[in-house]
């Protein structure tokens, strides 16, 4: 019989028999080996490398608390707001479950942003990890969709008007826009129909995609192996006898114990917010969202939750003046740069044609359309990082002053845009957001050139530090 072909499992005491039985019918030991006990990770992971496992941990928190919330929440425009308060007041420990979920949403973004920033610092997206990065970006998109759909569910004023503003953005798309917006809402305004479908997306559609992508992300990671703060491949230097990387250590037990410690540190910060400041000063739970949704009363100041504010700032910064004085000259300059530097006739022609089409669009279509385009691009542009970065080295440790300055400016721009997105608009703030927007995009668009001309130090043969 086939069941007898695999070797018996040893070392599990009284469970040897059971594990052998399973292993002969399911690749149990092989999976444990390839993903945990014999998955070799570089030994020099630093602080930044905690956030991948932490993001996974928050995902689990969100799913588990979400299941319990779903048991008591009513996706009905006339009952949703009160059902959330019912959870807060009358469901045993409901307030705890709900605060973990609302705080978890913000911490998910904190972890994912730091995880992405780690990849940018150490060039983790570089060949052969492009697909790993793309899966990660798709997870990020799903996370944004998940947060957006979930934010409507408490049916407060910010939920309602935030959804109204964002869905109305689709209205800006030429020709199909208005019909598309109605199709998304299922109504002419955000209403009960919208709440029901957003609930469906939030509790089943997006989480399914999210989980599948997380699996793909991990499989891709384990196929190519983890990068590290030095950006060198540990696979290149192996022990000639065992064939194992000299700078690698098995993920289990080394990183499982280290990440467990990380999870406890995370839980301390997380619990401090959940139990002592669940509103986080109005950033995690907004004051206006404690007013039930009222389609007839527009709040004076509509702002998305903090994790969306950088992109919202970019949207608002795109005024007619910005299109004319910044986007048009910027596009022409960028096209000339490509035509001048890239010695390839087809690329040059394609650039020329694209530029003319875009220029026509910039000069004829409404600035609002370009605001939506820029906002979308500001997220999607991360997908291209593996191909924009032409540096001979991966890690910031060996990159030169230009890259370091560029990353610093980008981080400042991201924070400034994030802050401005929470505030109401004034002339000065719009100008600041426009400068921030320019810096944000130049960081990506000029990367093929500055990353190549930067004076980099040579990468070491093997990982440094411990």
């Amino acid at each position: 019989m086939a069941a007898a072909e695999k070797q018996a499992v040893t070392g599990a005491g009284p469970f040897n028999g059971l594990l052998t039985w399973i292993d002969q019918r399911f690749p149990l030991m092989e999976s444990l080996r390839s993903h945990l006990t014999e998955y070799y990770a570089p030994k020099n992971f630093n602080f930044w490398y905690y956030f991948g496992s932490l993001a996974l941990f928050v995902l689990v928190i969100q799913i588990v608390t979400g299941i319990f919330l779903t048991m008591n929440y009513k996706p009905d425009a006339s009952q949703a707001f009160a059902s959330v308060e019912y959870i807060m007041r009358e469901v045993p420990w409901g307030w705890w479950i709900r605060y973990m979920h609302s705080t978890g949403a913000s911490f998910f973004f904190i972890c994912v942003y730091l995880h992405m920033f780690r990849a940018m610092l150490y060039g983790s997206y570089r060949k052969p990890r492009e697909l790993l990065w793309i899966f990660g970006m798709l997870i990020f998109l799903c996370l944004m969709a998940e947060a957006f759909f979930g934010y409507l569910l408490p049916w407060g004023q910010m939920s309602y008007w935030g959804a109204q503003v964002i869905v109305n953005l689709f209205d800006a798309i030429p020709v199909i826009g208005p019909d598309l917006a109605i199709w998304i809402r299922g109504d002419f305004v955000v209403s009960d129909a919208t709440l029901n479908r957003f609930f469906a997306y939030h509790v089943i559609a997006v989480p399914l995609a999210l989980l599948a992508l997380v699996v793909a992300h991990l499989l891709a990671l384990h196929e190519v192996g983890s990068s590290n703060p030095d950006g060198v491949e540990i696979k290149n230097v192996k022990d000639p006898k065992t064939g194992k990387p000299l700078d690698g250590i098995p993920f289990h037990p080394y990183y499982t114990v280290k990440d467990t410690f990380g999870v406890v540190v995370f839980l301390i910060v997380f619990s401090a917010v959940v139990f002592f400041a669940p509103e986080a000063g109005g950033y995690f739970l907004e004051n206006n969202n404690f007013i039930p949704a009222d389609p007839l009363k527009t709040p004076m100041h509509i702002a998305p939750v903090w994790y969306f504010t950088p992109y919202y700032s970019i949207l608002r910064a795109t005024t007619e003046e910005f299109v004319f004085w910044a986007l048009v000259p910027g596009l022409i300059a960028f096209a000339l740069l490509i035509i001048w530097r890239v010695k390839n006739t087809r690329t040059r022609v394609a650039t020329g044609v694209t530029t003319i089409v875009l220029l026509l669009g910039l000069l004829t279509l409404d600035a609002k359309v370009w605001g939506v385009v820029l906002m979308g691009t500001s997220v999607m542009i991360f997908f291209f990082l593996p191909w924009l970065d032409r540096s001979p080295v991966r890690s910031i440790r060996y990159k030169g002053p230009i890259t370091k300055a560029a990353i610093a400016l980008f981080v400042i721009a991201f924070f400034v845009l994030g802050y401005l997105g929470t505030e109401s608009v004034t002339g000065g703030r719009t100008l600041a957001a426009q400068i921030g927007t320019a810096v944000y995009f130049l960081f990506f668009l000029l990367m093929p050139w500055y990353s190549r001309m930067d004076k980099c130090r040579p990468e070491p043969e093997r990982v440094t530090s411990k």
Binding site: K43, A82, E85, Y86, M88, R89, E90, W95, W96, Y99, W161, Q164, V165, N168, I249, P253, Y254, V257, K258, T260, F261, V264, V265, L267, I268, S271, A272, V274, F275, F276, P278, E279, G281, G282, N287, N288, F290, I291, P292, L296, K297, T298, P299, M300, H301, I302, L315, R316, T318, T319, E320, A367, K368, G371, S424, V425, G427, R429, T430, K466
Partner: protein, 279 residues
């Protein structure tokens, strides 16, 4: 978050402007009122009980607290009988919600707008806002109810507590510079705000800074300090009903953090033990 006044004015306009994205929001140079800090304490049971009494007598006729059950008032150290005798006016059973008989339709007809439910109002507005607002009504012959408010201009709500607070009027004083106006403003017991005129509007004497305050004209049944205490208790109660589990939340929090700190030490030692031979 800063206090927001006059939300009802802007209505759809704000959204249209936001969506057009063409120009910065043209907000009027409306000076917001400096809010007094509300001296509330969710552990002060006597204050919460006093607040509950004021709440059911003065608020719970037009305003509901529809997400709050009378039964939860037992958490304030009251017995079921005490709640039934003193606080249970709008329902028959202690397990019922704190609703009111006033319908939305009637309310719209009488006040122009339905009075908001007060269950979570303290989380929407903030305790400081409520504390200042309830002490900032003044007589305004031009308004429909005869009342206006420093914090919420043209508010639809009449001054429900006026028999206690007495009647106030708004007083304007002109100043040549902001510092002077602010200095006098800070000495006020009640809310104050400063309107700034353009040099053209101010005319020759150049007194551009108008300090607006309120002054009591006819005394009510309570002294000013007793009225402030009454409002403090009332706001304390509203802050409590906005999250009746807030004390339990913090108590659980201390235990959770303590357990996590122990785990922190254990997991750190475990991590160091495993890693001691990684060089």
């Amino acid at each position: 978050m800063p206090a927001r006044t006059g939300e009802s004015h802007l209505e759809m306009k704000a959204l249209v402007v936001l969506l057009a994205l063409a120009a910065p929001l043209a907000l009027a140079a409306e000076e917001s009122v400096s809010l007094d800090s509300a001296p509330i304490d969710p552990r002060d049971v006597a204050s919460l009980q006093a607040g509950a009494r004021t709440f059911v007598n003065y608020c719970l006729n037009c305003h509901s607290a529809g997400m709050m059950r009378y039964h939860k008032l037992l958490d304030l150290g009251l017995t079921e009988q005490q709640v039934k005798d003193n606080l249970l006016f709008t329902a028959d059973k202690i397990g019922e919600l704190m609703t009111v008989a006033l319908t939305k339709k009637d309310a719209k007809e009488w006040f122009g707008t339905a009075p908001p439910d007060l269950s979570v109002i303290a989380r929407a507005r903030g305790a400081d806002w409520l504390y200042t607002y309830l002490r900032s009504f003044y007589r305004d012959p031009e308004s429909a109810t005869g009342w206006n408010n420093m914090v919420y201009e043209h508010v639809a709500m009449p001054h429900a507590l006026w028999t206690l607070s007495g009647q106030q009027v708004q007083v304007e004083r002109k100043f040549k510079n902001m510092e002077q106006a602010e200095a006098v403003g800070r000495m006020q017991r009640n809310a104050w705000k400063i309107d700034v005129l353009t040099p053209d509007q101010a005319g020759k004497d150049g007194e551009r800074f108008i300090l607006k305050t309120i002054r009591t004209e006819t005394a009510g049944s309570l002294s000013q300090i007793d009225y402030d205490i009454l409002v403090r208790d009332l706001v304390n109660f509203m802050a409590w009903i906005s999250e009746p589990n807030q004390l339990a939340r913090k108590q659980v929090g201390y235990v959770v953090l303590l357990v996590l700190l122990v785990l922190l030490v254990l997991t750190y030692l475990l991590y160091k033990e495993f890693w001691k031979d990684v060089h």
